[in-house]
Amino acid sequence: MSSETHSLKTSQLNAIHRMLSLNDTTKTPTVSSDGVYNYNDAPAGTSYNQWKILIYDAPCRSIISPLLSVSQLRSRGVTLHLLISTDREAIPDVPAVYFVEPTRANLQIIASDCSKRLYSKVHINFVSKLDRSLMEEFGKLMVQNGCLDMIASLHDQYLDFVCMEQCLFSLSNKKDSYAMINGSGVTDHAMEQYMNDIAYGLLSVMGTMGSVPIIRCARNGAPEMVARKLNQLIAEHPSSSHGYHGSKPLLVILDRNMDLITPIQHSSTYQALIDDLLTHNANRVEFTMNPEGGRRAQLKKFDLDADLDPFYSKHKFQPFPEAIEANGTELQDVTSREMAIRSKTGGESDPPSGDPNAKKQLEMHTSILQAVMNEVAARDVPQFFELEAALASGQYKNDSAKAKAEVLSLVTDPSKGNVEDKIRLLIVFCLATTVPGSDITMVSEKMAESLESKGLSVNEKQGGKNSSSGGHGTLTKEDRGKLDKGLKAVAYLKNLRSMQMIPSLSDAVGDDYVSKGGTSSDLLSSFMSRATNQASGLLAKATEKVSSMLGKIVKHHSTRVVENLCEMKPNTEDDEYLYLDPKIKGDVDVKLLRNMTRAPYREVITFVIGGGCYSEYQNLQMIANERRNVTYGSTELVSPCEFLGQLGKLS
């Protein structure tokens, strides 16, 4: 490809476009300013805009859905999009584009489609590499059915990853990755296969970016396994032999175990809070809203696309109160402009072209913010966030008794937070401090006790209505399950800690930390009271004091590692991490490189094995600047609660 590197999402989008144009590369489409191919003025009838049917399987659908909406697919000539597993009828005279994983089941379905001659021609695209053995099997099937003439093309696309934003991706089809990798009941073979899959996913990412990276990772464990496999794959891949221009990107492969606090911690930024508190999956957020009057809860669904939504892209990394404020002012701005225009035109004319969309988006954010705010207020999230941040940043390092007391008070307070919030705080407490295990046991017991009693008190209040749950059933079934799981997770982590498996936080907390503690506690509670007051009305105008306080965010572990590697600081991870270059056989000794001048990395890809989270993504973007582009990826993006669930499965 061209020497200029596009962002990952743009590259993937272009690849999808090319696939939808039936892989015709004879004519290069015009490239618009932002690097996205402009196919829209291609005349219909050519292969760029031919009518076609798209047939995908579920993983490939999740790849396409954040990239292209239905109407965009339509404008690319896709008249129907169907799941491969559903019943499909014959639509003669229309070519079909298959976009599927190379599995035996899918190949059988395709073969049977061809033998039934459902479509005029078949273009098959595999999301990753089709094994030779599978291809032979498929070939046999096709020859037997006598429908070889149906196949127009067959491609390996290497697109096996889901791009949520320009600089954010996850591998598709990797659920429960942390539990999978760290679980005890996994056979060696399954693990090997899993690592292979991850390596292929990363190969897709690197291939789509069109560059050969320098791979850095910690020695031992999953990252090294993946890195070595990936190194080999890239070296073997035919297209890697002809050279790429530009500086090599840096691929850092990290293990989740290095930093377990971040995915479990409460967060304060807009995007991370959406992911934490609402149902958020592949850029779609869902929540239920009680409209005024509260008759029926309404399920709302919104698609968030940071690339098309200026407000979201501007404020997703900002602390939540700032986002609220910005939303309020921008909405006001738009409304007043609209009013001005209305009054000029006499009221009944149509609003100006650009504005309706912007206003719609802002209103969408208003309702999302409101939903988040309701949750925040109901669960007292800032208190948890504040204490967790303090714990994680080592403020209580020398004062564990005080830390314990604070945690205990918050955990046993029945009016604050739900079960999961408390367990998360407990886990942070367990991971971030060096208190003895007995203390943690004590706190967790107290928490369980208080939860039971809280359930009791609630139960007594509702005694008349809720007569069936007598005696012990004080918590709801759901909460009890969560509590049990959470306690299991705590037990597992305590175990890990006693075995010294987790790097002690004392050295992880570096000098980067900017302490802004002290008076924060009362500031926070003042914010809370303010926010609660205004949550019912329109959104709060949070004070600047609060936002500045929440704005100071400590660099997370992964961020520091990546920064050290990028800036090649001596005596840090740069020295000890493995250095692999697919173009050079064997390992490279970093100590030797130190004498040479190394070009700075312009493109950095950070990949976390075992689940990533939005707060880590946001944190990493802090070290991105105009000369350095940081892309964050993970096996999957987990919300804190999901991660808690995975931890619970482990013990």
Binding site: A44, V70, S71, A90, L148, S239
Partner: protein, 416 residues
């Protein structure tokens, strides 16, 4: 990009494979269609859909060519700086006409295909994927079509705006010069304004506001009525003024309520001989411009005309002729624009409805499946409801039977 084309590899692999075991299968034939009773019926519909695809691609190509014409027109109109549109107006008109006819034919074609799909959908069944595919296709075509026509509409608006702007500028220019000229001229100077406003603004804005747009110069619409009512009055008084000035015209004639085309520059030159000038104008507008309201127009005899011509100087005649042409051209241009807009207005309205329906469709790929799921659960619920209904019916039936049997037994034991 790492995407690998493995078509060749696959085909060479297939060739190396042994031919299928069963000998009768060596010559691959498409499997015979399932012999169902409805087949021919469906096949017919499918066949029709096939031809439909061909028409669809033709339509799509036409849309594309139309949009190309449109971009040409747009560049032409936007590149035209403030200068007079003497040169390009012909070209622009031609383009507009071509685009308009294209749009009209496309509209009828789209209508026809839509109808055909509706017909076939009934035959194929409501949820047929082929039918859905065709509907989506037409929907997409309609959307493209509307986008194109929207562009056309915008271009036409820009064009009429430009015309209006130019007229205003001319009037302004005239106003500055008129102050030097004196009373009579100022009166006369207003007349052309009346005429031109009427021609340019009035018809256009009425045409424009007749289709939903409405955004174009509401004030202009107001102006029009004002002008239209005040115009003749003004004209009348000025004619009387002229009469008093001692012309040989007869009073009956002077009250013609005819809005006159009036060359602005000529008025400046000819204020010495106003009467003749004016008559000349009214007369020529009768003969040349049929579209003007000519109801109350007195009939001139050739003799009259001769007399008037003698009165007006020869030199003025020479000056008047290009002016006439210019005005006529202008009036024609405005009329075409106006009629285009009015004709297209109906199409726009119709399409706007269609596209609104179309664009409120699902946004994300998954939603399709979600909807299907919802439908599934809904149908399941309906089925269980029906089952419950049936069950209760059965119970009722049993109860009735029991009562009946008891009654029969009672009857037999006691009466038999």
């Amino acid at each position: 990009m790492v995407s690998q084309d493995r078509t060749a590899e696959f085909f060479s692999l297939c060739q190396s494979l042994p031919p299928p075991a069963t000998p009768q299968n060596t010559q691959p034939k498409p499997p015979p269609p399932p012999p169902s009773s409805r087949y021919s019926y469906k096949a017919e519909a499918a066949e029709e859909l096939r031809t439909f695809h061909k028409t669809a691609s033709i339509i799509s190509k036409e849309i594309h060519s139309t949009s190309q014409l449109l971009s040409e027109l747009t560049s032409l109109i936007h590149s035209r700086s403030g200068s007079l549109f003497v040169d390009e107006s012909q070209k622009v008109n031609n383009l507009v006409l071509r685009i308009k006819s294209n749009i009209e034919s496309l509209n009828t074609k789209l209508d026809a295909s839509n109808e055909m799909i509706q017909r076939n959908k009934i035959r194929l069944g409501r949820n047929s994927q082929a039918g859905q595919e065709a509907t989506n296709l037409v929907g997409q075509l309609q959307e493209e079509f509307v986008n194109t026509t929207k562009g056309f509409k915008n271009v036409l608006q820009v064009r009429s705006d430009r015309m209006k702007e130019k007229t205003d500028r001319e009037t302004n220019f005239h106003k500055t010069s008129k102050e030097e000229e004196g009373e009579t001229i100022s009166l006369l100077g207003n007349k052309p304004k009346v005429y031109q406003e009427y021609q340019d603004n009035g018809k256009l804005s009425s045409g424009l506001s007749s289709f939903g747009g409405g955004g174009f110069n509401n004030g202009g619409g107001l102006n029009l009525t004002e002008m239209a009512s005040s115009g003749p009055r003004l004209d009348l008084t000025s004619a009387i003024l002229q009469n008093q000035g001692g012309s040989s015209m007869n009073p009956g004639e002077s009250t013609t309520q005819l809005p006159r085309p009036y060359g602005i520059r000529q008025t400046e030159n000819n204020f010495g001989d106003n009467t003749g000038m004016r008559l000349r104008h009214s007369q020529s507008s009768v003969s040349n411009n049929d579209t003007l309201p000519t109801t109350s127009l007195p009939v001139y005899t050739p003799l009259d005309i001769q007399r008037m011509e003698e009165q007006s100087g020869q030199s003025q005649m020479m000056q008047l002729i290009p002016d006439q042409n210019y005005l006529r051209e202008r009036a024609d241009a405005m009329e075409t624009v106006e009629s285009n807009i009015v004709e297209l207005g109906t199409i726009f309205n119709k399409l706007a409805v269609m596209v609104n329906e179309h664009s409120e469709m699902v946004q994300r790929v998954e939603d399709n499946v979600d909807a299907a799921n919802d439908n599934l659960t809904l149908s399941l619920n309906t089925l269980t409801d029906t089952l419950d209904n049936l069950r209760s019916n059965k119970q009722l039936f049993f109860r009735m039977m029991a009562v009946l049997v008891v009654f029969v037994i009672f009857f037999i034991t006691f009466f038999a």
